[in-house]
Structures are given as structure tokens and as C-alpha cells.
Amino acid sequence: MSRPVAIEVSHLGKTYEKVRAVDDLSFQVYAGEIFGLLGPNGAGKSTTLRILITLLHPTSGSATIFGMDSVKDADRVRQTIGYVPQERAIDRFLTGREHLELLANLYHLSADEASARIPQLLKLVELEQQADRPAKTYSGGMKRKLDIACGLLPDPKVLFLDEPTLGLDVQSRLRIWDHVRAMRERGITVVMTTNYLDEADQLCDRIAIIDGGRIKALGAPAELKVGLGGDLVSLTVREHDRVEMLADAVKNLPAIRAVTTTKTGLDIRVDSPEKALPAILEAANRLTCQLEFIDYHRPRLDDVFIAHTGRSIKDDVQQESQG
């Protein structure tokens, strides 16, 4: 498969005061796809993004955007990309239109180009009505739309979105997703960070799961889920001391792929649930091992994340927001 490559990241590393935020990262983003960097807060995805948009210099390795180096050709890279930072990157005192006018000057558009493009963008993100109100009167969703209009103003080949739906209500999220898909239709390559699994799953063509500054898994969400192998049966066992015994018994049953012990019971990967489930229950019965709860589901991106990082993304996000 030789798809045109938009972004080439090669052995990228970034160290802050002895902490390796990004460690030997390599991946490619194909032209015209939506590429997601998925990981908990502090995983290194924002650092990676900020290197790609030329705001940080890597400590080692390199990143190129359409062949232009993020350090040596920074100015040309900046002309090629659009950037949508996290939500509050808005000047409360300026109106939506003034934001776009300011950026038009910073991208050196002529007055004619600016006055042609700005109304189009306001229409695209449905902010025409509010264009001349100060941004402090905008709702979260409206600010996000303005952010996106700002990112699209330079007519970029690659658009970078940092946590595009963080803190938005469900309706606004879906709207933003529509906008992101519309960008792909227009041929824009989209690179976004997210710590929402469902967002990565439904929106991204391919994702890189990042944890501890390293890539843990890379591919299309569907591919990654299939790659886990089989559906998942989770058992919660009442008497914890029996878990090991049950695990040994289950391992040798037909249609079982893998068995892992969890805090409360077992996670079992199975090939065909209709064969495996009765056999598992029978084994539990035989060993008089009482089951408190049985959960069966097809692999979700959640499971991909846990399989590759050894923990759930949700735990981390909650800890971060509490801390």
C-alpha cells in the first residue's frame, strides 16, 4: 500500500528537565485521513502535537510535514497548517469576525482574500448571527466553532486539533465531529489528540495509542480491535482465592484464546462465545466457584487500550481532573 504521506515522524524524542515526555516516536500520517493521537493526560500526545506545529523543538529525531522539517522549515510549515488549540484560546474581548480578521493579517492574506474568505467560514461554522458579538458571550460550543473557523482560515493542507471536544455537551460534540468529517471531504488531512475512546473510535481513520511518551498501538480502530483476537468474557468471582484454580481449568477448554487474571476475577478471550460460554460455566460449576457477574462483549477500543497499556484510560483522566 503506497498512500501519499502527509506527515512523517521519525524517532521523535522530547525531554523536559530530565523527564522524557516523548520517547522515540515514529509514525506516518497519510494525506486525507483523520489521524488520532489517543492517550491519557500527560501521555505525550500534546507534546507531539506541539512539535508538529513547530512550537516545540524536538530533543531528538525529526518530524516533517509534506517533506518540510518542523524545525528547519518552520516558517513554511506554519503556512501549510492550521491549528485549533484547546478551548479557551480565544480573546474574550474580540468578536468572532475580529478573530478571523486578525488571523487573516497574520497569514498575510490581502484585504480582498480576507473579505472573501471570512464570511464563507462564518457561514460554514454557523456563526454568522453571532459574528459581531464579543467572544465572551459565546457558549462553549460556539467558541469551539470559532476555533475551527480560525484553524481553517489559512486554507490549510493539514489541520491540527487539540482535544477538539473536551468539555462540550453531547450535541456540540456531534456537531464538531461533523465539521471534522467535512474537512476530510475537502481533502484536508486532520491530526487530532483526544482522550475520549469513543471519539477516536468513531471519528478517526487511524489512531496511535500513546502512553508514557511511546506508541503502544497504531492502526485503524477496527483493525486494532480485531487484533486483540476474539470477544471478551469477564467473570467476577465471589471467592477470590478460587480465581487461580478456575483460570487453570479454563485455559484448557476449547475455543479459549487467552486468560488473564484481574482484581476480581478473570478476563477470557474467546473465539466463539456459543462454544466457550457453556464450557466456562460448567468448569465454574464443577469447581464450585460461585460467579457474581458475567459480562460478555465484542472488543471495544477500551479493551484495546487496556491490552496495550495495562490500564484503563478512564482511571487516568479522572485522576487528572481531580488533581
Binding site: 506541539r50 506545529i53 513547530t54 512550537l55 516545540l56 523543538h57 516558517d75 513554511r76 506554519r78 503556512q79 497548517i81 491549528y83 488549540p85 484547546q86 479557551r88 484560546a89 480565544i90 480573546d91 474581548f93 474580540l94 475580529e98 480578521e101 486578525l102 488571523l103 493579517n105 497574520l106 497569514y107 498575510h108 464579543p134 480560525c150 489559512p154
Partner: protein
């Protein structure tokens, strides 16, 4: 070059727009306190201040130079605040992700702060005039005062921006700001001439660039060119050094923060 000006003009206009939207808070926080110093302090100490010591016909005429330079001090030290907020809310990153010259944002800030400060100095001088203080060196003297203010302001704004780029939180920024400004004022010739200060304070005040600025502005208002010129020459030399140091520090902080 054309692009550079387009950037700087647009960024400077943003500060102007912000000011016009926040006009009440800006007016009250920036212009008023300094006017109060002039009007209340100036008149309050009229009889308490010894004219033999101040060498001026009234305390308010003595104080005018001090208030002018204090205005420069306050505006300069607060000059980085907006960049601090831009840094904290990510707007600076947005600006820096565009293909602008790396210095444009900073330059726009210098232009804006200098312009606003000059306007405020003119307001101070106008109010002082209402209380009978007329700069004896006339309009050229006023222009020289503005020039000295600009030179001092550039260095102060550079310090403020360096701090804005270096601090971890805006709480730190404002505590350092609050900590700096009072000693800067009291350890200068703003309120009392150096000769009348307690020895140790007078000694410290000599190293305060603010003292040099005030000692040049004051004769421009009170005495005349003959007395003022040596001081003006001196302050220009001092300010070139001061600005060079501050700009060097500011550039380093900026490069560390922006990369």
C-alpha cells in the same frame, strides 16, 4: 517587510480593540491612581514639605516629575500582563503557530504600551498644568520628557514580558509586581530629593534607574534647559544600558518560552 508591518499593525490593533472594549477598567486602573497621587499627595504635602528641601515653588510642581515617571513605571511593569494571559489561555500558541515573525507579538506590545504611556503622561502634565505647573522648557521639553519616558518604559516592559514568559502562574507574576513597585518608588527621588533622604535610602536610590529619569524630567519642568541638559544626557546613557540589559533578559526568557 510588507508582511512584517501587516502583522505588527494587526497585532497592535488587537491591543487597541481590547482597550476600547475594557475602557472602564482600563481608565480607572491606569489613569486614575496616578492622578490621585498628583492631586491628593501633591496638595496634601504642600505645607508639610519644606520648599528649601524640594527647591520648588510648590510640592505639586516638585511631585509632577515623580508622578510622570511613576506612570511610566506602572505601565511598563504591567506591560506584560496581557501576554501573560495570552500565554495562559493558549492564545499565544495560536499566534505563534501562524507564519509571523517571532518578534511581531512583542514589538506590537512595545508600540502599544509606549503609546498609551505617552498619552497618560500628557494627561498628567495637563492636570498638573491646571494646578499651575507649567514646564519651563515648553513643548520641546514635553517632547523630551516623553522620550525619556519611552526609553525607561521599553526596559520596564521588557522586564515585565520576561516575567510573563517565565512565571509558572499569574499569581507569581502579580506578587512580584506588587513587591517591586513600592520600593522602586520610595527608593527614588519621586517624593523626596535624594539629599533629603536618610543616608541608606539615598544610597540605594542612586542605583535606581527611576531616580535618573526623575532627575532629568524634574529640571525640564522646574528649571530650564541649562540645568536639565546634563541630566538628560546622563539619563540617555543610563537608559541605553538599562534597556540593553532588560532586552537581553527578555529575549532569553522569550526564546526559552517560545523555542
Amino acid at each position: 517587510m510588507k508582511e512584517y508591518w501587516q502583522e505588527i499593525r494587526a497585532l497592535t490593533m488587537r491591543w487597541v480593540l481590547r482597550l476600547s472594549r475594557e475602557k472602564f477598567s482600563m481608565l480607572f486602573t491606569l489613569v486614575q491612581p496616578m492622578l490621585f497621587w498628583l492631586i491628593f499627595f501633591g496638595n496634601l504635602f504642600q505645607r508639610a514639605a519644606d520648599m528649601q528641601v524640594t527647591q520648588a515653588s510648590s510640592y505639586i510642581s516638585f511631585l509632577t516629575a515623580g508622578v510622570v515617571v511613576m506612570t511610566v513605571l506602572n505601565n511598563g511593569l504591567a506591560g506584560g500582563v496581557d501576554l501573560l494571559f495570552d500565554k495562559e489561555n493558549g492564545f499565544l500558541e495560536r499566534l505563534m503557530s501562524t507564519p509571523i515573525h517571532r518578534t511581531s507579538v512583542i514589538l506590537s506590545r512595545f508600540i502599544f504600551v509606549t503609546t498609551i504611556t505617552s498619552l497618560q503622561v500628557l494627561v498628567i502634565l495637563a492636570v498638573a498644568w491646571l494646578f499651575g505647573v507649567q514646564p519651563v522648557t515648553g513643548l520641546l521639553g514635553v517632547a523630551t520628557i516623553l522620550f525619556i519616558g519611552m526609553m525607561f518604559g521599553v526596559g520596564l516592559t521588557a522586564i515585565s514580558m520576561a516575567m510573563a514568559f517565565s512565571v509558572k502562574s499569574h499569581g507569581d507574576f502579580f506578587s512580584v509586581l506588587g513587591f517591586l513597585s513600592l520600593p522602586m518608588i520610595f527608593l527614588s527621588s519621586a517624593l523626596v530629593p535624594l539629599a533629603a533622604m536618610p543616608g541608606w535610602m539615598g544610597f540605594l536610590a542612586q542605583f535606581n534607574p527611576m531616580t535618573w529619569a526623575i532627575d532629568a524630567v524634574r529640571p525640564l519642568i522646574l528649571q530650564g534647559w541649562t540645568e536639565a541638559l546634563p541630566h538628560v544626557g546622563m539619563v540617555i546613557a543610563v537608559m541605553v544600558l538599562f534597556d540593553a540589559l532588560c532586552l537581553y533578559g527578555g529575549a532569553r526568557a522569550f526564546r526559552r518560552a517560545i523555542g
